[in-house]
């Protein structure tokens, strides 16, 4: 592992100052379940200067504001989210998704901010191949074993999938985040936060956060009335693994008619994939047992699987059918 230095700032402002000083050589250190592994993996893009934000005491909370929004500090542990009575009551689908992330031990260390901004878990990247995210100029996943952790929806240089579950589950609730930047605070929807592979500060990454910015808070607006939601995830192993395909589905239903649908797939693309064709199709439809087949027939029409991962599309479509069946059964 390369030599590292750790800073322990007391305020977000101080942390931003340190990040700005070291450029892309510095990185935010919270739970460490991604960052420390990146360092152990000797990834070129892993930082040499760690800015430990655990010492900043106003980043770890779950609270409700006067408007009924629930605010989650970015350094809040996934286990704390999973155990929160407020979140269990207001957003049970989110809690369900969080409980499917990794293992209990890692949920005790991982933070919500880290989960949203984690690096991809392509086996070639983590195995030290000189790929797009590791100082090189070639995606080994596109030509190698891409059956588990690579996109079946096309790519842009890097074909690894965005691995996080929290973002997938947050998008149906119209969740948004706050970033602290040198120019002040800014807000982005979770969908805007993780738009997939893009070039930021000379690096390919899944999120838009710049080297001198810090994600400070996740905000969940009050759930819409008559909302039904489900989260399902298929993974190679029953626990402690990333999604081969997942789906967060929410339906706002009145008199058995869908008024507002959200379908967000995980594990199949370089970003949480909001399937707007399906959403538009579902809006205005009566919930029925036939709806699943119809939705599946139009879903993921732009699929572009690699050599070994066409099955991910079948999995994703299966999740859509089962998700709709489950929410119909909740009637």
């Amino acid at each position: 592992m390369k030599q590292i230095s750790i800073y322990r700032p007391n305020t977000v402002e101080e942390a931003i100052q340190i990040l700005s000083q070291h450029g892309t050589e510095a990185g935010v250190y919270a739970g460490g379940t991604d960052l420390l592994v990146r360092l152990k993996n000797r990834l070129t893009q892993a930082p040499s200067y760690l800015v430990d934000i655990k010492t900043i005491d106003n980043l770890r909370y779950i609270k409700e504001d006067a408007q009924g929004n629930v605010q989650i500090g970015a350094a809040t542990k996934l286990a704390e989210i999973a155990e929160s009575d407020l979140l269990k009551k207001r957003y049970p689908m989110l809690v369900q998704a969080i409980n499917m992330i990794s293992s209990p031990e890692l949920r005790n260390a991982s933070t919500i901010g880290g989960d949203l901004l984690q690096e991809v878990w392509c086996q070639y990247l983590r195995g030290g191949y000189s790929c797009w995210r590791n100082g090189g100029y070639l995606c080994y996943g596109a030509i190698g074993d891409n059956s588990y952790y690579h996109s079946a929806m096309g790519g842009r240089l890097c074909y690894a999938v965005y691995p996080g579950d929290a973002a997938v589950a947050l998008i149906p609730f119209d969740a948004y985040v706050k970033l602290a930047t040198p120019a002040g605070a800014k807000e982005l929807t979770v969908e805007q936060l993780v738009p997939g592979d893009l070039l930021v500060d000379g690096r390919i990454q899944s999120h838009v956060v710049r080297f001198n910015e810090i994600l400070t808070e996740v905000i969940l607006p009050p759930p819409k009335p008559n909302l039904r939601a489900s989260f399902e995830k298929l993974r190679p192993r029953g626990v402690w693994d990333f999604a081969m395909a997942s789906l967060a589905l929410s339906l706002q239903v009145r008199d058995n008619t869908i008024e507002n649908a959200r379908a967000v797939f995980g594990g199949i693309a370089g970003r949480p994939l909001r399937e707007r064709t399906v959403e538009t199709f579902l809006n205005g439809k009566k919930l029925s047992v036939d709806l699943g087949d119809q939705a599946v027939s139009i879903a993921l029409a732009n699929a572009a699987p690699l050599k070994y991962n066409a099955t991910k599309i079948d999995m994703a479509k299966g999740l859509l059918a089962s998700g709709l069946a489950k929410l119909n059964a909740n009637n």
């Binding site: 100029y137 070639l138 000379g202 080297f211």
Partner: protein, 195 residues
């Protein structure tokens, strides 16, 4: 830039070698097989078959958008090919691609094949070899690029073949030509990265 049929190149190779066609479905591999034989022969009167291949070639759908984007980025593009000038001009004209290339170096104006047109393109543009990229999808192409010193970029059309070719340590690789503008942006950004 296009899917070429293999048959015309194999026919040329068969005529040059006087042997039966060695069946390959890959236009690229057949082409390089033909070039190897051309190097050993004076027979250059097979242009008609080359043009036949060019006329049957189907450009990939991502080619024109990618070339247009590169042009908008002020990237200079050159064609360096061992095909005859007539075959290249026919290909460019048929597919509306001429406007995207600053110059064309064929075996006619470069007076040679394989590395010779590539070197001519570099000389013509006053470029140092390490400043240039050469897109190829064959081992022969990678060797030619290396022999001249340009950066060989693997077009990863077929995953299995690309996996084998990746062992030759290309400077980079792309799955589709639509990634080339991003490729160049990454190279540029890495050079300008804040430290």
């Amino acid at each position: 830039m296009a899917e070429f049929p293999s048959e015309p190149f194999l026919e040329i190779a068969a005529r040059l070698s006087g042997r039966q066609k060695n069946a390959s479905r890959s236009g690229s591999r057949s082409y390089w097989h033909m070039l190897n034989l051309m190097q050993m022969s004076d027979n250059g009167a097979l242009e008609a078959l080359e043009i036949e291949a060019v006329e049957r070639a189907c450009p990939y759908e991502d080619v024109i958008p990618a070339l247009a984007e590169l042009k908008s980025m002020d990237i200079s593009l050159f064609i360096a090919s061992s095909l005859s000038n007539a075959a290249i001009e026919c290909f460019l004209a048929r597919n509306g691609l001429r406007e995207y290339f600053s110059s064309v170096w064929s075996r006619d104006n470069a007076k040679g094949i394989k590395a010779v047109p590539l070197q001519s393109a570099l000389d013509g543009a006053c470029l140092e070899a390490p400043q240039a990229m050469f897109l190829t999808d064959t081992a022969e192409g990678l060797k030619v690029a290396e022999s001249v010193g340009v950066n060989p970029i693997l077009m990863m059309n077929d995953p299995d073949e690309s996996r084998r070719l990746a062992m030759h340590n290309p400077a980079g690789g792309i799955v589709s030509l639509h990634e080339l503008p991003d490729f160049i942006r990454v190279v540029r950004a890495k050079n300008l990265r804040p430290r």
